[in-house]
């Protein structure tokens, strides 16, 4: 095996044996082991696999791992052919359709499978997207741009800034809606961040992802993407929102405000749930239906206000029984400008943390508090502890759940370094992150019935 060896995933004895036989990934090889012959295509090996096996894709399509020992013979019997990446031609764009831009940040909203080798490749160009999700051609004139190629856990507040600027650019160029394809793990953080960074938008900015990868026929990627493009180009609202499955069925996609939505399940399609809110719209049977009258209206005359700065000097401290308050001191020492406490219940942190909190506030750190209950509203007037914390200068986050409160604190401290000004901004309702009334809607996902028909 030659220069390609490293990317093939092979190492150790297996790599040596392949090198000796001059075999490359994709070649047709014959491995003879214990008197049996395994013939097929040499397949790349997972990075985490051991160095003792060679993986062959047999003619039947199955992969098998053959243990390499000194008695095993490897022969190259044919040269591999590289899969051709012929993108289908771009279908004719229908001039009467609205313009949508799809920004991708990583992961695969659409992909193709090379069944010859079993490789999965993402399809990101507009023509690829049309090829894989042909329904898009009847909804919008789609333009695509790859902004990053990162797993969502590798995105930072810096990336939020770049993404906000990119979206603003496309809006300025006249896009009728922006769709952002995003990994689901931190999608809600990005949605909250863009909600604060893109104020008074003329058109919707819709984040979309998939809980089942797009290489599988059961993927939710295409359904979610179609709904996102529909909402971005046709919905009457102009806000930052997430479009994902409303239930485990493929029948309806919920559009939920970016500051009020949270990933609540590790694997289900309907993982994104509105918190202290209801979805603002639903896409079903190709129709966008508004579910509330309270939303910012789409209006191309609106002037977008771009405020893309975020401070990285902000920390989240989750209170738990036994928390060492030295953690708070450490953050203050490190120069943190803001700390979000994730308190218990209505908004509490044990008395033994008070000294550390007082010290932080005295040193000019903005300390806010949200509840680890996630659902419900913080009220620090009910118990002594809450009242004490208020007296220390801790700012309650009302009905914002911790992640949105954290992102808001980062954004606020990106706008001002003045603590008093920051506190004022923190309490202002910027992007629908506060609601005045808490409604008796269902909360959580546990125990909810699957449905959708």
């Amino acid at each position: 095996m030659s220069e390609k060896a490293e990317s093939s995933g092979y190492k150790g004895e297996a790599l040596n044996a392949l090198r000796k036989a001059q075999c490359q990934v994709g070649d047709i090889i014959r491995v003879t082991s214990k008197g049996k012959i395994y013939e097929g295509i040499l397949i790349p090996r997972s990075e985490t696999g051991d160095g003792k096996h060679v993986v062959v894709k047999l003619k039947s399509g199955y992969n098998v791992g053959v243990r390499i020992t000194p008695n095993v013979k490897i022969e190259k019997i044919g040269k591999g052919t590289k899969p051709a990446f012929a993108s289908p031609p771009l279908p004719e764009q229908k001039p009467e359709l609205p313009k949508a831009v799809i920004l991708s940040t990583g992961g695969t909203i659409a992909s193709r499978v090379d069944y010859r080798t079993g490789a999965v490749r993402s399809a990101l160009s507009a023509s690829d997207l049309y090829g894989v999700v042909p329904e898009l051609a009847d909804i919008a004139r789609v333009k695509t741009e790859i902004v990053f190629s990162l797993y969502s856990e590798n995105l930072t507040p810096q990336h939020w800034s770049q993404l906000a600027q990119k979206a603003a650019e496309h809006i300025a160029q006249g896009a009728d809606g922006v769709v952002i394809a995003h990994g689901t793990d931190t999608m809600a953080y990005t949605a909250a961040a863009l909600s604060f960074a893109l104020q008074n938008p003329p058109v919707p900015v819709i984040l979309v992802g998939a809980q089942r990868s797009s290489d599988r026929p059961s993927s939710d990627a295409a359904t979610n993407l179609i709904a996102a493009v529909q909402a971005a180009t046709r919905a009457p609202f102009a806000e930052v929102a997430i479009a994902m499955h409303e239930t485990v069925s493929d029948t309806s996609i919920a559009i939920t405000r970016g500051t009020k939505v949270r990933k609540c399940h590790t694997s289900r399609r309907d993982t994104f749930k509105p918190v202290n809110a209801t979805p603002i719209a639903r896409v079903s049977n190709g129709e966008v239906t508004m579910l509330t009258g309270e939303y910012q209206k789409r209006d191309s005359a609106k002037k977008l206000i771009l405020k893309p700065k975020f401070s990285s000097e902000v920390a989240l401290v989750k209170f738990y029984p036994g928390l060492d308050p030295a953690v708070i001191d450490w953050y203050v020492e490190k120069g943190c400008k803001g700390i979000l406490l994730e308190g218990t219940g209505l908004g509490h942190v044990s008395k033994y943390c008070f000294d550390a909190i007082r010290n932080a506030v005295n040193r000019g750190v903005v300390v806010a508090l949200a509840s680890q209950c996630i659902w419900g509203r913080v009220n620090m007037n009910v118990y002594d502890t809450g009242r004490d914390l208020l007296a220390l200068g801790v700012i309650p986050s009302d009905d914002m759940f911790p992640e949105t409160a954290l992102v808001k604190l980062m954004w606020v401290l990106g706008q001002t370094s003045d603590a008093a000004e920051a506190k004022t901004l923190l309490k202002a309702n910027i992007a629908g992150e506060f609601s005045q009334r808490t409604m008796p809607d269902k909360f959580g996902v546990e125990g909810e019935d699957s449905d959708g028909n």
Binding site: S33, Y115, D215, S267
Partner: protein, 631 residues
Amino acid sequence: MAIDYAKIGLKVGLEIHQQLNTKAKLFCSCPPALFKEEPQITFLRRLRPTQSELGQVDPAAFFEFQKGMRILYEANRATSCLVEMDEEPPHPLNMEAVEVVLTAALMMNMQPIDEVHVMRKTVIDGSNTTGFQRTCIIASDGWIKVGEKTIPMQAASLEEDAARKTGEEDAGKTIRYRIDRLGIPLIEVATAPVIYSPAEAQEVALAIGMILRDTGKVMRGLGTIRQDLNVSISNGALMEIKGVQELDLIAKVVEYEVRRQLGLLQVKEELNSRGVKAEDLQQEFVDASAVFQQTKCKVIRKAMDKGQMVLAVKLPKFGGILKRELMPGFRVGTELSDRAKFWGRVGGIFHTDEMPNYGITVEEVEALRKTVGAGNEDAVVFVADTSENAHDALKAVVERAQEAIAGVPAETRTAKEDGTTRYMRPRPGAARMYPETDIPPVLLTSELMEKIRANLPEPGEKKVARLMKEYSLNEKLAKQVVDSGYAALLENIVKASSVSATTVAAFLTETLKALKRDGVQVENVADEQVLEIFRAVGAGELAKEAAADVFAWLSKHEDKSLNDAVENLGLRLLSKEELEVIVDRVVAENKRSIEELGNKAFGLLMGAVMKEVRGKADPDLVARLLRQRLR
């Protein structure tokens, strides 16, 4: 007419799938069980054909997707979790199932794979919520002996069973599947295509089935084993026949398939001699609704009343071809009709070879011929349905007719209970497989292989010899017991009761076979219940003659106990006192015969008493009581 299978170049390969009786499913901890009640959970999905690099998509799957096919899945909490719903990644491969497959593979002299990789085999008919079936090769390249012949075995795989179809809605646009069966482990073993006659196919399947049963870890009963056949003849085509459920049917299915292919080859010759070319068959469809305005045909009447249409197409020079029989009750017309049903979602088609019929008059047929411009040498196929379905159906009919000119089209077919086969779907292209990255590869270590080798089940011949020696069974009975797969049960029963091994063996072989012939669902009775029956027989609580009746009753009342059976069948044994009353009465009633015949009246009296108490009394006791009274 007997067929010379060697001369026509018959080749058959077998693929046998059997469910494993493991504690849990293959990729989650749900029990491998089905449910009969109403579903507690339903959800609706669509499956999207994944594009491959070469832009290939499965034609049938893509067609169904374009038609907006939706799948309504049914589930309950007892039998499935988020894994089967495709809402949670699969758990690691169930090692208990791997061990069963390894056991079978070693018995078939296969070589285990060093490192097992689970694959995704694309299947988008809805039978898998994911859109693919998870499958892996566990061992390959072995052989078994069937009689004198060595049959090469290609591979032993482990895969997840699919969801089962429970119905259709909205004119076939929504398909219902129940996901209880999804994820049950299946072993699949495949032979090379080296079987050359129908009888041999059945023999090989029997031999494989026996090895699988010897593992002691496979499910029994209808629906737990499915035999797929690959059948081809020279100049014919390779046919994939799915889902033969009964072993006894295999020879018949192969024979019928051969007859069908030979018949199609004759049709081809006839069409060629008539000079029909594929391009003569045009997709020119004619709206023939006007012909049937006043029709007495119920099917067409109903369609017209719903505002649907009659669409017709001419098949030039096909006159008389469509009524040719290919298999019992299956004509060339059936070939066309099966395609129309699949691609056009119609109930069926009409054609002029079967007219006049179904309330359609000679006059209507004449008018129809005129409408499409068909002469007597032509055939006309027509269908009554929505415009979309009718067009799809006739398009499929024309394509199938074109294939008839070329010979035998390669297809995937499904086996019916009478041994005939029907069109299921086009043959899929090369298996679309790619790695299941959610499941880490599994090393088959030498420690594991040693453990499996040390615990291999006793081979059949050895078992026969041992049963003869330990239980004094004759060779024929011992062999029958081993062949039936009930050897372990026999040993358990004999150990737990005082009933003779020969009695138990005869019951487990001849009696059960007879019951099965009478339509008793033998698999409905658990081994534990059979054991209980014989415990009762041994304890003198149940007459051994009643065992079969009790068994049959239990097979129809799955939740009931042995006591319920005895109670319901009135089989409680009579006490000696009760029996004496009956014997005395019979003796009194036959006083004259006794006086005339003396001791020779015994047979007559015995018959009279037994007629009343059969199954409720031990015949030896009856004889003793009678003798006492005749003295």
